[in-house]
Symmetry: C3
Subunit: 265 residues, 3 copies
């Protein structure tokens, strides 16, 4: 598995997969810089007039509902249909699902209409979408991981997709395969948009790796390792954010082989 | 007063108050990172469909008119009413009031419909809202501070709110109490959104401190001190922005006791 | 020519030209920080209700179609007309022209209705607007520079404007004068929005320099030199972005005289 992750990172740097993001205003800049630092090619486009044409150029589509409004939902649905028709992998980030009905219902609508290759959320969001009684405080998760893992398994089976739950320890499942990832660092929760960024990175991995389970795993491991490298000398969350971009640029096969902490089951 | 500021900072780090921001596109990322660095929990949500539900989860609401359009104004008004009904404190940042009629009128409409706990602006903006003949050059203040202070006193009395005027020296009043704050650094004006950030930080303080005068004062002092710490080794405005986030994470009671420069009258 | 660039930089720092940007969500924050670091004064405003009034306060208007939608196009067209009526220079950045019909047509509509003082794009974008068969991969250029230079000449003559094509080597023409600029650094392509930023910087130069050819040249040289300075000690793209802001603040006449690499023809 670790060799497949190394191979995906190399491919991202060779192919520069185009990742089409329809994402929230807060993280657009950081998301684009994360993708560029890793070696991918980001594009943001949300107008109904162009999303189908843009997604047709892309290697992956990332949908993120972090700052939602009706025209954006319509564009996301339209882009997701175009992606499905062209077999372009979709990653869905249900930011804040469970916090408001509008977010929960929008995420469910997108899941139901065009199940993505990968759903990536925190514990609260995944539990809210599975119908569990999780509590979402704003956009931050307060759900325990064991319940969230069961919710992820249920969702993965229902929709035939991979579900990635990020937190202190990350969990990925396609309904049968399961993986736990112990990479990452506490400072990642002190910078806005790191969850959104790992969703975008999952898009980049999906653009070079056909199996979405392997792609999601690779994204979580690689991003988590970059976080560990960035935290080594960061005096605070501002410096950490910048070093994270440097680390995404620098992370390579030796670092992945040394630092990856994955257990499959 | 200084001990109350120290206590508020500690409470922000213990409680992580949820600050709901309906703010401008330019500063969303930086605002979220400023709140996270300080220890608060930011959420951005602007859709009419969800703002009332989201503000109901929040400890404070921050409205910022920096990149205005009609749907956003409607959502701000709706969120402000919901906040009032639930006694959730509101901070209003009238970015660019005085520069265009649209901004001046929007800020006045929001003030008139639902007076906030705290209005935070620069001298030009505060004077424009008080009907003085200030001149706003884009979103930067060109108004002298003495006139702005009188305008702040007038507005505070008229609307029964706290007014905070930031500049080389900051001024806070609730119409009777007045404070001058001499913290801060010139580099703060070389980074976009530092005024917007201090408004958001005022929201975080309002989320843990009932008295909005004390909350606004605490926000200005703490943010100003973080600016001073950040400036110590910053070779330019880029580095300063990053160090400011590190300093908001690091600032503590000893630093506040040593560096606070407040005079009450 | 180099002395005129030095003089423009000094004037930007003395006059702080107000640059009104109607730009994309991804780069708003970085664009504002770039302008502030250089010494200019940025404002972002996109509502139809205020763009005419705001542009009337500005020394230059920068239009950027990076995250397009219909209301924004209408505001751009309206702002451009107001700018023309008041002889305020306009810079147009046709982000992603050639990638989707929506972008190509919008850029052409804006060019046709109110030709800007300067059109600034990458090779693919310029070729798409000239009707050449360039290929745009998302928002990144894949066009060779020789063909792009011919397209730039054609467009410059057709519309009576300056065209600046950025890439490994930059090219500027007004249809008769031509310049090649060899400043810059590869890391500039690893940070999102550096192309958009140089368009905004071109706006700042147009705000203090009447001749748009000289202004565009000055912007490209100054920004490129800042990139070279920033790259000297940057361990990766994150650090580079921050050092670029520091370098824009620090770049001065001696640095410009030493590092400018311009050839006129």
């Amino acid at each position: 598995m670790v060799e497949e992750i190394c191979s995906s990172v190399e491919q991202i740097r060779n192919i520069h997969p185009l990742v089409h993001n329809i994402t929230n205003y807060v993280v657009m800049n950081f998301t684009a810089n994360v993708l560029l630092a890793l070696g991918a090619s980001p594009v943001m486009a949300h107008a109904e007039e162009e999303v189908e044409e843009m997604v047709g150029l892309a290697n992956a589509l990332v949908l993120n509902i972090g700052t939602l409004s009706q025209p954006w939902i319509d564009s996301m649905a339209r882009a997701a249909r175009a992606a499905r028709n062209r077999s372009i992998p979709v990653v869905l980030d249900p930011v804040g699902a469970g916090a408001t009905r509008f977010r929960t219902e929008t995420a469910r609508r997108l899941l139901g209409e065009t199940p993505p290759a990968v759903l990536r959320g925190n514990g609260s969001e995944i539990m809210a979408l599975a119908g569990s009684k999780g509590t979402t405080k704003g956009v931050d998760s307060v759900a325990g991981s064991q319940d969230a893992r069961q919710a992820a398994m249920d969702l993965a089976k229902s929709y035939g997709m991979v579900v990635a739950v990020t937190g202190a320890e990350d969990f990925v499942t396609d309904g049968s395969r399961r993986a736990l990832i112990a990479n990452g660092h506490g400072l990642l929760s002190r910078v806005t948009g790191t969850g959104c960024a790992v969703s975008a990175v999952t898009g980049a991995f999906c653009g070079v790796q056909k199996d979405p389970f392997t792609a999601a795993l690779g994204a979580l491991v690689t991003f988590g390792i970059a976080g560990e490298i960035a935290a080594r000398e960061a005096p605070g969350p501002g410096s950490f954010q910048i070093r994270l971009l440097d680390a995404l640029d620098a992370v390579d096969s030796p670092a992945i082989r040394e630092l990856a902490r994955v257990s499959l089951s």
